[in-house]
C-alpha cells in the first residue's frame, strides 16, 4: 500500500499540473482605462509659419507659458501649422482664438472676423532681403531676368511681396520675366539659392540672420544682394467674439514683455524685440502697398 500512496502523491504534485494546465485556459478580466471629460477650456493660439513647426513651438511655447502664469485662469494652447496654406485655412475659418499673422494676413483676418489688438515691433525689421551665392556674382537686377528665384510663399508680405515689389520698381517683373519658386518656408527659400536650384532667394532679415548663425560655413558662400524698404510688422489679432477683458489682459502682458529681463529673454527665439498696441489704422500703409502691388503685379499668381 505504501508504494501506491507514494505514487499517487508524486503524480498529483509533479505531473498532473503539467497535464491539466494546458486544458483549462484561465480568463482574467481584461483591463481597460477609464476616461473622463476634460473640463478646462483652452484658447488656441496660431502663429503664421515663418518658422517651421518645431521652431515655432520652441519660440512661442515659453511666451504662452509666461502669459498663462501671469494672467488669471487663462489656458493657452499653441497650434502650429504645416504651411502658410494650412495656417490661412485655419485662420480664415476662425479656428484660432488668438493669432499672430503677417501684415497681409492681418488685413485679411480683420476682414474675416478678427480684431487687430497689437503688433510686433519694430517695423525696421519688417523688410525683405534678396540673397544669392557669392559665386553667382549678381550685381544688378537685370542679371535675374529669366532665372529661377526662390520665395517662401506667394502671400508672404516681407519675404515675397516686398522683394517682388523691389525688383518690379527696378524693372524686373518676377512673375513675367523670371521664374518664382514658392518653396514653403524661409529656410527653404535660402537653401534653394544655396544649393543652386535658384539663382537668388527672397526672405526677410530675421530668418536670414538666424540661418547665418546656424550655418556659418554655408553662410560664407552666400551674400546679401539687396534690402527692401520697411513696412508695418506682423500683427496680433483676436477673434471678434473673444471676451474683451481676457484679450486686454493678454495684450497688456504682451506689450510689457520687453520691459523685463525675463521677458526679453523669452522673446529672443521668436526673432521679435517686442509687441506694441495696434489697430486698424496702423495697417493703412500695408493696405495701400497691397493695393499698389495688386494693381501692378497682382495676387494669386
Amino acid at each position: 500500500m505504501r508504494w501506491t500512496t507514494a505514487l499517487k502523491t508524486v503524480f498529483f504534485t509533479l505531473i498532473a499540473p503539467f497535464l491539466f494546465s494546458g486544458c483549462g485556459e484561465e480568463k482574467t478580466s481584461p483591463y481597460a482605462p477609464v476616461f473622463t471629460e476634460v473640463k478646462e477650456r483652452e484658447l488656441i493660439v496660431g502663429i503664421h509659419p515663418y518658422l517651421n513647426a518645431q521652431r515655432t513651438f520652441l519660440a512661442f511655447e515659453p511666451i504662452l507659458r509666461y502669459l498663462e502664469d501671469h494672467a488669471d485662469g487663462i489656458r493657452l494652447r499653441l497650434e502650429t501649422s504645416v504651411d502658410y496654406a494650412d495656417y490661412e485655412r485655419k485662420l480664415y475659418a476662425g479656428h484660432f482664438d488668438l493669432s499672430l499673422p503677417n501684415p497681409y494676413q492681418t488685413l485679411e483676418a480683420q476682414a474675416l472676423g478678427y480684431r487687430i489688438v497689437a503688433k510686433v515691433k519694430p517695423d525696421t525689421d519688417f523688410r525683405g532681403v534678396i540673397v544669392a551665392r557669392k559665386d553667382r556674382h549678381i550685381r544688378s537686377v537685370s542679371q535675374l531676368r529669366g532665372e529661377k528665384i526662390s520665395f517662401p510663399s506667394p502671400t508672404a508680405l516681407a519675404a515675397t511681396m516686398l522683394p517682388k515689389w523691389f525688383l518690379f520698381e527696378r524693372g524686373l517683373d518676377v512673375d513675367k520675366e523670371a521664374f518664382p519658386q514658392y518653396v514653403g518656408s524661409q529656410y527653404s527659400s535660402i537653401m534653394n539659392a544655396y544649393s543652386g536650384d535658384t539663382v537668388a532667394a527672397a526672405t526677410w532679415p530675421t530668418p536670414w540672420k538666424t540661418w547665418q548663425q546656424e550655418n556659418p560655413d554655408k553662410a560664407e558662400e552666400m551674400e546679401l544682394l539687396w534690402t527692401t524698404p520697411e513696412l508695418v510688422n506682423n500683427g496680433f489679432v483676436a477673434r471678434a467674439d473673444m471676451d474683451e477683458a481676457v484679450v486686454e489682459q493678454i495684450v497688456t502682458l504682451l506689450c510689457a514683455l520687453d520691459t523685463t529681463r525675463e521677458g526679453k529673454a523669452i522673446l529672443v527665439p521668436s526673432g521679435f524685440t517686442g509687441f506694441e498696441r495696434a489697430d486698424e489704422t496702423t495697417y493703412v500703409p500695408v493696405k495701400q502697398f497691397l493695393r499698389r502691388y495688386d494693381a501692378a503685379i497682382g495676387f494669386g499668381k
Binding site: W3, I15, P30, Y31, V34, F35, A53
Partner: protein
C-alpha cells in the same frame, strides 16, 4: 493485487519504480523551469518591443501633435492598431487629453483610473522618456512625445500577452509528450537490464544455499560478462573452489602439525644449551674485534666440545688465509700467525670464497678438505671439520674452523646453526668496529687540517675555550699566539701553490718539533697558525717560546730542491689581560700579529690597548682624509736638496703635509698608508704634483733658481694606463718645464712588474723628466732589471744613512750603492742626512747630493722662497 505487491517488494520492481519516478520528476522539473524562463523572457522581450514601438510612435506623432493634425494622428494609430496583440493605443497632449486612439470613446477625454494616473505620474518623472509595466496579463507601455526636449504629449500602448501564452501552451504540450515517451523508453530499458542482473543474483543465492548444506559441487554458469554481479559470480566460483581446497588441506595439515610438535619438543631440550652459550658470548660483548675473536673461539670450543677452533682472515687479493686466533681446548692455549696459500688448497679456498659452509664428517676423504689430509689432518689427528665462512657486507672476509680430533663426528643441524650464529656475531663485531674506525677518522678529519694534520679552527676554538675555563678555575694565565708567514704570497706566486703547501707542512713540522705535546697548534687557514700556551706564570716564558719560534723558523728550509727562507710574524694575546673569551683573544692576537708585520716582520708583538686605539684612529682618519681633499687641508712642504761640496741648493723634494683642523699637522707616515689602502692617494698625489709644479713655474718666473723638483710618483699612479699622459697634461697645465722635474718611484713597486715599469718609465723619460729610484737597497731588486730601467738617480735610503759612518755594514752598503750607481751612469742622492759626519762620509765617497735635516727640514713654500732669495743674493 498480491502479485503487484510482490512485484513492488522485489529489487526489480523497486528499481523500475525508482528509475521512472526519478525520470519523470527530473524531466518535469526541467520542462517546468524551461517554460517559466521562456515565458519570462518572452514577456520581457515583448515589453521591450512594445517600448520601442511606443517610442517610434511618439517620435512620429510629434509634428502632427504640434500642428494639432488630428487626421494625421488618427492615421498613425490606425497604422499600428492591427499589429498582433495590440489592444489599445492612445496619443495624448501634454495634459493627457486623448487626441487620437483606436478606442473612439476615449477621444478628447482624459484618463481617470488609478493605474493610468500612476503611469502618467511615472511618465512625467521618467528620465528615459518611457515606462513599461506588466499588469493583468497585459503589457502596458507609455512614451513621452517631445519637441526640442519639451514634452508636448504622450503615447500609451496596451498589448495582450496572448501570443506568448499560446506559444507557452504549445511548448508545454510538446514537453508532456517528450516526458511520456522518455518514461516509457526508460521503463523498458530498466526492466531489461534489471531482469538480466537479478537472474544472476537468483542463481547465486541458490548456490549459496547448497554450499551451506556442504554441497560444494554446485553447478554455476561461467559468469563471463564484465558487470559487477558477474564479477561477484566469478569470485563466488573461486571462493567455492578455494573453500573446498582449504578444507582438505587443513585436514592434512592438522596431522603434520601434530607430528612436528612432537619432534620440536624433543629438539628444544638440546638447542637450549647452544642458546645459553650464545647469550653468554653476547654478554661478554665485543668491545674490540680481537676480544670478540678470542671469546668466539673459546665459547665455540667449549660449547661444541671441539678440540681446535680457529679464526682465519682472507687477505685482500684472496690468495691466502691468515690465522688470527687458534684455541686448543685441552691446553686452553691461544696461538696465531699461521698461513694457508690458495694454490695449495684450491678446492677448499673456492668453497670458502663462495661463502659455502664446509661440514666434513670424514675430512680425509671429503672432496673439499682432502687436500689437507697428508700435510695437516693426519699429523694433527684431525678427522672431522666444520668450517663457516665469515660474511660481512656480502663479502667473505674469513672463516671459522672447528677441527675434531679423535672419533669421526657428524655435525648436527643445531651445531651448524650455532656455528653460523657465532660467525654472524663475529661479522657483526667486525662491522661495528669498522664503523667505529670510520667515525674516528671522520671525527679526526672534522677537527684537523688535511694538509698539515694540525688542529683546525673549530678544534682550536674548542680547545681554547676549554683552556680558558681551566685557567679561570685555577686562576692561571694563558697565551694565544697568532703566527703568520711573512711574504708567503710571494712564495706561492713564485714557486706555485704546491710548493706553498710544502712550505706550510714544513712550518707545521717545525712548530710541532719546538713545542710541548700539550700545547695546541692549529692552522686556521692559509698561512695562519695559532697556538695556545697554557699554565704560564709570567710573560717571560711566552717571550721565550715566541722568540724561539721566530728564530727556529728563519732557518732555511730545503724544499723541492730549493733553499727557502721563511720568516714569521707572531702576535700574542694574553688571558685574561687581552680578553676573556676565545673570540677576543684570537682577534687581539691577530691584531698584534699585524703590528708585528708593521714593525718589520720576523718578530713578535703583544696585543695592547694602544694597538686597539690605533685601529680606531684609522677609521676616523679615513673619513677625515676624504674630507681633507674637499676642504683643501693639504699643504706642500719643500725640503732642500743641496750639493754637499758647494752647499748650494740644487733642488728640492715636494712633501705633503696634512693641516688637520683639529690635529694640526699630521705626518705622512700616519695618513699615507691609509690613503694608499683607500685609493685616495691618487687624488692627493695629483694635487701635490700640480701644486708643486705651479709653485716651481712661479719661482722660475720670479727669476729664482729652485733647481730640480723631486716628486713622489704614487704606485697606483704609476700603474695607470694614462700615467704618462696625466703627467704630461699636468706639466703643460702648470707651465712647468719637464727638465725641472724629477719623479721618484719606489724600488719595491717597480719590481712587481719590471717589464711594464720599463715601458712606462721609458714613456715618462721621453717627456724629458728625470727619474729617480727611491729607497734603493731595501727591496729585492734584480740587478739585471736595474740595468734596463731608464733611471737617472739612485736615492740612498735613510736607513743606511742613519748608521753612517760608524756602522761598518751600513758604510759598506752605501759605498756599494754609490759604486753601482756610478758604474750604471747614475747619480746618487742620500736622504735623511742629519749630521756633518754623515754628510762628509757621503761626499767623500762620491755622493754629492744631500737631503736631510742637516741642510734643512721640509718647510712651507713661503719659507722655501725666502731660502731661495737668500741663496740668489749670495750668488
Amino acid at each position: 493485487m498480491k502479485r503487484i505487491r510482490l512485484f513492488f517488494a522485489s529489487i526489480k520492481g523497486q528499481l523500475i519504480i525508482g528509475v521512472v519516478l526519478l525520470q519523470a520528476s527530473l524531466m518535469g522539473l526541467f520542462i517546468y523551469d524551461f517554460i517559466s524562463r521562456e515565458e519570462e523572457f518572452s514577456q520581457q522581450r515583448s515589453l521591450n518591443n512594445l517600448g520601442n514601438l511606443g517610442r517610434l510612435v511618439a517620435s512620429n506623432a510629434s509634428l502632427s501633435l504640434l500642428n494639432n493634425d488630428l487626421v494625421a494622428l488618427g492615421e498613425l494609430v490606425s497604422q499600428i492598431e492591427h499589429l498582433p496583440d495590440i489592444e489599445k493605443i492612445y496619443i495624448t497632449d501634454a495634459n493627457f487629453r486623448v487626441r487620437a486612439s483606436n478606442d473612439p470613446a476615449a477621444f478628447n477625454q482624459t484618463f481617470a483610473d488609478p493605474r493610468s494616473l500612476a503611469i502618467q505620474e511615472d511618465l512625467r518623472r521618467s528620465p528615459a522618456g518611457s515606462v513599461h509595466t506588466l499588469h493583468d496579463a497585459l503589457l502596458d507601455t507609455g512614451a513621452v512625445i517631445t519637441v526640442g526636449g519639451k514634452t508636448i504629449g504622450f503615447v500609451r500602448i496596451i498589448s495582450t500577452t496572448q501570443s506568448i501564452t499560446e506559444q507557452m501552451g504549445r511548448l508545454l504540450e510538446y514537453g508532456i509528450v517528450y516526458i511520456l515517451i522518455a518514461i516509457m523508453a526508460m521503463t523498458l530499458i530498466a526492466w531489461l537490464i534489471i531482469r538480466k542482473l537479478t537472474k544472476k543474483l537468483t542463481l547465486l543465492s541458490v548456490a549459496a544455499g547448497e554450499i551451506a548444506r556442504g554441497n560444494y559441487a554446485v553447478s554455476l554458469p561461467p559468469f563471463e560478462e564484465r558487470d559487477e554481479i558477474s564479477r561477484m559470480g566469478r569470485a563466488f566460483r573461486v571462493m567455492i573452489a578455494s573453500i573446498h581446497d582449504q578444507v582438505s588441506e587443513l585436514e592434512s595439515m592438522l596431522e603434520k602439525v601434530q607430528e612436528a610438535e612432537a619432534l620440536e619438543r624433543q629438539r628444544y631440550t638440546q638447542s637450549e644449551k647452544y642458546q645459553r652459550a650464545l647469550f653468554q658470548w653476547a654478554e661478554i660483548g665485543y668491545e674490540d674485534p680481537q676480544t670478540a675473536i678470542r671469546n668466539a673461539v673459546e665459547i665455540s670450543a667449549h660449547t661444541l666440545d671441539v678440540e681446535r677452533v680457529s679464526v682465519w682472515f682472507l687477505n685482500s687479493d684472496l690468495s691466502a688465509l691468515e690465522c688470527r686466533d687458534l684455541y686448543t681446548l685441552s691446553s686452553s692455549l691461544h696461538a696465531d700467525g699461521f698461513r694457508l696459500g690458495r694454490h695449495d688448497y684450491p678446492h677448499y679456498f673456492e668453497a670458502v670464497v663462495e661463502g659455502r659452509m664446509i661440514a666434513a664428517e670424514d675430512a680425509w676423504n671429503d672432496p673439499l678438505t682432502r687436500e689437507f689430509t697428508e700435510g695437516y689432518l693426519k699429523p694433527l689427528g684431525i678427522v672431522s671439520m666444520l668450517d663457516m665462512p665469515i660474511v660481512q657486507g656480502g663479502k667473505v672476509i674469513g672463516v671459522v674452523c672447528h677441527e675434531q680430533i679423535g672419533g669421526k663426528r657428524m655435525w648436527r643441524p643445531e651445531e651448524k646453526e650455532f656455528a653460523i650464529a657465532v660467525t654472524n656475531a663475529l661479522a657483526l663485531a667486525f662491522e661495528i668496529d669498522k664503523r667505529k674506525q670510520i667515525e674516528t677518522t671522520l671525527e679526526y678529519q672534522a677537527h684537523h687540517d688535511g694538509l698539515t694534520d694540525l688542529s683546525n679552527r673549530s678544534l682550536f676554538v674548542d680547545r681554547l675555550e676549554h683552556a680558558i675555563k681551566k685557567a679561570k678555575r685555577r686562576g692561571n694565565k694563558l697565551a694565544v699566539l697568532f703566527i703568520d708567514l711573512d711574504r708567503f704570497k710571494e712564495i706561492n706566486d713564485s714557486f706555485g701553490h704546491q710548493m706553498g703547501d710544502m712550505v706550510l707542512v714544513a712550518v707545521a713540522d717545525r712548530l710541532r718539533e719546538n713545542l710541548r705535546e700539550i700545547d695546541t697548534i692549529a692552522r686556521l687557514g692559509g698561512d695562519e697558525f695559532t697556538l695556545i700556551i697554557e699554565d704560564i706564570d709570567d710573560q717571560l716564558k711566552v717571550n721565550e717560546i715566541a722568540s724561539k719560534l721566530v728564530e727556529t723558523l728563519q732557518h732555511p728550509m730545503e724544499i723541492g730542491g730549493h733553499q727557502l727562507y721563511v720568516t714569521v710574524s707572531i702576535g700574542v694575546s694574553l688571558y685574561p689581560l687581552d680578553g676573556e673569551d676565545s673570540q677576543s683573544l684570537l682577534r687581539n692576537a691577530d691584531s698584534a700579529m699585524y703590528k708585528a708585520k708593521e714593525e718589520g716582520r720576523n718578530s713578535f708583538q703583544y696585543y695592547s690597548q694602544e694597538l686597539t686605539e690605533r685601529a680606531f684612529e684609522r677609521v676616523a682618519m679615513e673619513s677625515s682624509l676624504r674630507r681633507a681633499i674637499a676642504n683643501g687641508e693639504f699643504v706642500v712642504y719643500y725640503q732642500p736638496q743641496v750639493d754637499g761640496t758647494t752647499d748650494a741648493i740644487i733642488g728640492m723634494e715636494a712633501l705633503v703635509r696634512w693641516n688637520h683642523p683639529q690635529m694640526g699637522l699630521v705626518t705622512p707616515a700616519r695618513f699615507i698608508p691609509i690613503a694608499e689602502e683607500t685609493g685616495l692617494i691618487l687624488a692627493i698625489d695629483e694635487w701635490v704634483m700640480k701644486s708643486a709644479m705651479r709653485q716651481m713655474a712661479g719661482w722660475y718666473a720670479q727669476g729664482l733658481e729652485p733647481g730640480v723638483l723631486s716628486l713622489n710618483l704614487a704606485m697606483k699612479q704609476l700603474w695607470r694606463e694614462t700615467c704618462v699622459e696625466t703627467i704630461d697634461a699636468m706639466l703643460r697645465e702648470s707651465g712647468c718645464r719637464s727638465g725641472w722635474i724629477e719623479l721618484e718611484v719606489t724600488e719595491g713597486e717597480i719590481m712587481k712588474n719590471p717589464e711594464k715599469a720599463i715601458a712606462i718609465l721609458g714613456g715618462l723619460r721621453d717627456l724629458g723628466v728625470q727619474l729617480a729610484i727611491d729607497d734603493f737597497g731595501t727591496g729585492y731588486s734584480s740587478l739585471s732589471y736595474l740595468k734596463r730601467l731608464p733611471l737617472d738617480i739612485l736615492k740612498i735610503d735613510q736607513s743606511f744613512v742613519r748608521g753612517l759612518p760608524e756602522h761598518h755594514e751600513d758604510a759598506a752598503i752605501v759605498r756599494a750603492i754609490i759604486a753601482l750607481a756610478q758604474s750604471l751612469g747614475m747619480e746618487t742622492i742620500a736622504e735623511g742626512v742629519e749630521t756633518k759626519e754623515q754628510k762628509d762620509f757621503l761626499v767623500a765617497n762620491g755622493c754629492h747630493l744631500i737631503q736631510g735635516y742637516f741642510y734643512g727640514q721640509p718647510v712651507p713654500a713661503e719659507e722655501m722662497e725666502k731660502m731661495l732669495e737668500l741663496s740668489a743674493k749670495k750668488v
